[in-house]
Amino acid sequence: GKPPADEKIRIAMVVKNLGNGFFDAAHNGARQAAGELKNVEIIYTGPTTPSAEGQIEIINSLISQKVNAIVISANDPNALVPIAKKAMARGIKVLSFDSGLAPEGRLMQLNPSNAELIGAKQIEMAARAAGGSGEIAILSASAQATNQNIWIGVMKKVLENPEYAGLKLVATTYGDDQSDKSYREAVGLLRSYPHLKVIISPSTVGINAASKAVVDEGLVGKVAVTGLGLPSEMAGHVKSGAVREFAIWNPIDLGYTITYAAYDFVKGDPAAKPGGSVSAGRMGKIALDANGDGAMAPPFVYDKSNVDQFSSIF
């Protein structure tokens, strides 16, 4: 329900796992928003390892604390639905961002961009890196990461476009978000596919490990790594030349926007509903579709020219 005006509005941000630079940046954005909104308190939390069970435990305790809103990046779109429903039944506004919850478990989902844009952007970067044609491979995080799988699905579809006819996806492997396994998988790719031109890794651990593998194998210039990563973590690899460009949306803006959106829902803004829109401070208005999905800008591409500028920010 609506809290009294003088009481602080508590918005809990539940992320996939703590110690993840991406979410730390999103937290920064949320704090900016909270600062602008005055009486908002942000509770930043998440499990240690990215697991749905861990997030359920946390949401359970958040329900007990009677927070006003929960914004979540889900480790499992379905597993969290029951608990999210319970939270909503107790009057807590549940929103998801980044990696979404199934529609019945949340009021809105803020896509950092949208899956189509992200998938297309990665293929576009890969095509540039490969010079238009050649073999490419994907090194994903784990087989159960929802968003990764959606992006990979999109990438495969995009590759069917005639303009990418020269690109051939030869393998999809999983590094389980462990640097050693990802590294080994990357080396395996480099060995098994001598003509490989690009490794796309839509995972921060993976893109790091793949870049290191390319450097160690002495294949800088022959094989390019691209994908999604944080400037702060990728700066070194951009300098080494293993990565020419990579993309990421702005997690600060993401955290900022979802906080505003949660505020709107808590305040009971009439426009805040599927098909409506939420207003998000400096980000302007975000329109919601019939499913309650909103999307931000296409992912931003970083390369030598701008990575240093952002590496100190997130």
């Binding site: 435990e57 329900i63 007990s64 009677k66 159960q144």
Partner: protein, 306 residues
Amino acid sequence: MLLLLLLAIAFTVNGALLPTFLDPYNLADGTFNFSEKALIALPMALLIIIREIDISVAGILALASVAMGMAHSAGAPPASLLPIALATGMACGCLNGLLVTRFALPSIVVTIGTVSLFRGLASVVLGDKAYTGYPQIMADWGQGYFFDFIPREFVLLLVLAAGFALVLHATAWGRRIYAIGNNPVAARFSGIPVERYRLALFVLTGLMAGLAAWLLTGRIGSTRPNIAMGWELEVITMVILGGVSIAGGAGTMGGVLLAVLTLGTVTYGLSLANIPGIYMTIVVGVLLLVTIALPRLLRGKKEVAK
């Protein structure tokens, strides 16, 4: 004893510091976080009492969940999913037990191997997909309440814990379990079918992991290969904290249940205070070390040095 004290302390401190802690609804909801693990801890305690251990329980759970998912998507009726989970669990436990008893292998080695086998098989079946949309009956048990207040899982846990306590402390089976843990050779010389007990307890552990799979899957409504990742260590921690000797032959169900509640209280208190989970692992680790080291230290080092 120490544990009871700890539980009392944890309860009071939490109650005093966290305004929302003592709300009965919250306390009831807090039990969801440990009920399934505790269900596995019950047979695990018996296994550890007879000097065995099962590292593969979380793997069994994952495989049982996958089996349910497969059956469900193949159109099996909702009521059949529980037997399927239990059967899968028992089959996995049986494999562990047979490897341990037939080939005279140390159980820790066997189950380190089988855990990657079970999880691996789960991931073979699942690939990059997930099973969802489980029937309502599973959700009812996994996340439902009796009288809209007491979680069914917790009731199930209490009932089964009472059952396990009865078996361990008041029946011939329990007496023999202690005898095996105390001295397996003498137990065999006394006519106890030691290997059969070992096998049976592995199967029982598998069975309970299957039950936990049914509840957990019902609670979260989906199956992924990383379901219940890392639970084996938490379950073993509960058992050891409950005073079950890793050297076998000693331990009580009451102790295990007390440890479960203590851990539940501490972790729930920490999460209500929004302390990140990783601090929780530190607390749990320290708790474990303190509960075993403190009696040693109190008894004085002189005797230890002998």
